[in-house]
């Protein structure tokens, strides 16, 4: 077992859930309330120094009673130590957790992908928007278990939605703000955006 697990339990007590050791890997479940403190402790404390974030992902089980987990793989390069941290949510409830982007910059896109695929919202993330699907994708969050393999809409509807997005829907709001600062967004586009329309021609998202 990775000694960090015991150190975590000693430091954070109740905020640490169960610890599992299997196949040479240590997994620690952390409660969402003190999650950012735990991660900061793991990164900064001498003797831990998990300075490398390997991966951020989420897992939803087929069994609807099991919680949806957000899984973090951490590594300490100097100590050659790996650790898996999990945070559990009720899959039918709110999926919200603190972002670890202030600690590891590599988490930026990884968390965006978890948001896109699972709908988990990361508080404090500098730019949380869809990354793999287009920003105004309306079918849902693809990797959830209630999302069918072939999507919710019919194929012709999927083609129609893909082909008919407004051109400015392809730009993120940050880019549109740059264009607007230099006065390059046409008036009708600006009106449409102010009305909240980005996406299909003649319809709101």
């Amino acid at each position: 077992m990775n000694p960090s697990a015991e150190a975590l339990r000693a430091t954070f007590g109740d905020a640490i859930g169960r610890v599992a050791v299997a196949r040479g890997e240590t997994t620690v479940v952390v409660r969402a309330t003190r999650f950012l403190d735990v991660m900061r402790w793991l990164k900064d404390t001498p003797g831990q120094i998990y300075n490398y974030l390997v991966d951020v992902t989420a897992v939803e089980y087929r069994d609807r009673e099991r919680p949806l987990e957000v899984v973090y793989h951490l590594r300490s390069l100097a100590r050659h130590a790996n650790l898996r941290i999990k945070v559990e949510f009720d899959p039918r409830g709110d999926l919200a957790i603190d972002s670890v982007t202030p600690l590891w910059a590599g988490a930026n896109w990884l968390e965006r992908e978890v948001y896109d695929m699972f709908g988990v919202v990361f508080a404090g993330h500098p730019d949380l928007r869809r990354i793999l699907m287009w920003e105004t994708y309306a079918e849902g969050h693809p990797l959830r278990k209630d999302f069918p393999l072939r999507g919710r809409f019919s194929r012709s509807e999927q083609v129609r939605q893909a082909l008919n997005a407004n051109p400015e829907a392809h730009y993120s709001l940050e880019e549109l703000s740059i264009a607007e600062t230099y006065g390059e967004v046409p008036a009708d586009v600006r009106d449409r955006l102010r009305r909240g329309e980005r996406g299909l021609v003649g319809g709101s998202e």
């Binding site: 196949r23 390069l77 590599g106 990361f122 793999l132 693809p142 549109l176 740059i178």
Partner: protein, 428 residues
Amino acid sequence: MSGGRPRSVELELATPGVDARGRPVRVPLSAATLPEEPDLGGEHLLVNIGPQHPATHGVLRLVVELDGETVIRVIPHIGYLHSGFEKLGEYRHYNQIIPLTDRTDYLSPMANNVCLAMAVEQLMGITITPRCTVLRVIACEMSRIISHLVWLGTTSIDLGAFTPFLWAFQERERIYNLQEQWTGARLTTSLTRVGGMLADIPAGFVEGLREFTRTFPKTLAEIDRVLTRNAVWAGRTQGIGVMTSDEAINYSLSGPMLRASGVAWDLRRDQPYLDYETYDFEVPVGEHGDVFDRYLVRLEECHQSNRILAQALDRLPDGPVNVEDPHVILPPKSRAMSDMEAMIYHFKQVMEGVNAPIGEAYCAIENPKGELGYYFVSDGTAKPVRWRIRPPSFINLAAISKMAEGHLLSDLIAINASVDIVMGEIDR
């Protein structure tokens, strides 16, 4: 870009966030600001590069905010090749996922196959045979060579040198011949199976590969002579796109990107797998973290891979390639047709797949692009609950906005090339 009077922006700029009480709110984005001397007529240009563009190495879209030729901000957009791999993996048996892995990082397919088989074997607790171990090392190093050759060829084209592309692809054809002899396919190899390989190497393979290792350094020397001390090449790559070692670790870079920045981390040496600790090879580590260093690191890695291949060929042991477990490995067809027990094992594996024990496993290898990791979660059935690909290029590419700030537009192309991305892996 500092100071200046920020003009009020009329758009509502906000992305979803969560407030302290856990309720969704919209978080304001940072708006662009006008530069200090607006009367000079300075205007920033928003330029869209891609997704269809020869120099983006696939369907990558970069939206660049330019002040003249200088890049102020670059915002990459990905997802143009999103194919739903991870969702597909949940609907397939473990062996059926192997053809999917060819198509994520299609520049080094055999290495992905090996990583997947290793991850499932870690999940199921299977130990492979010694011959299989050496064959997998051979497959990984062949993949490293072909991936770096594509990188060399396409990066030279981006920076204006066309000929190394043809030399590199000619070498790749020789590896493709060997891959085709072994697996039947040039690119989509599907080489491994859980517990073993697709097949043992055919006659003539060892001689062919040995001939390759003998003559490959000559091509590398030619490319080296043309590029490394070339004034144009050095001028366009030295000092460009620098990532310091702390930044590289913080951005979770891996592979040559990480090593060029001075961090001596290579999974083959620091978390060894497939007996890599018994091979004699060096891991090149750069110093400046710029594009030139990444080029040198990859070029040297080709030399070292060649070295490992020669050693692996020397030590290739006899014996079976597949594990002797009939629950996991299909019996030979002749036995499946004649022996009842073998037929039943064949039937169960093909129709139901092989059940994995409940649990999870993360297995990472040193892919040519970086650390490729497969994370499996199993609920005891033959199809995984979750298959996660930890894509090295995805994480490496996220750093491009950091690397390109303040450089010229032409440097942005060089930096993009140096990240060595493959969109299939980024978008999965």
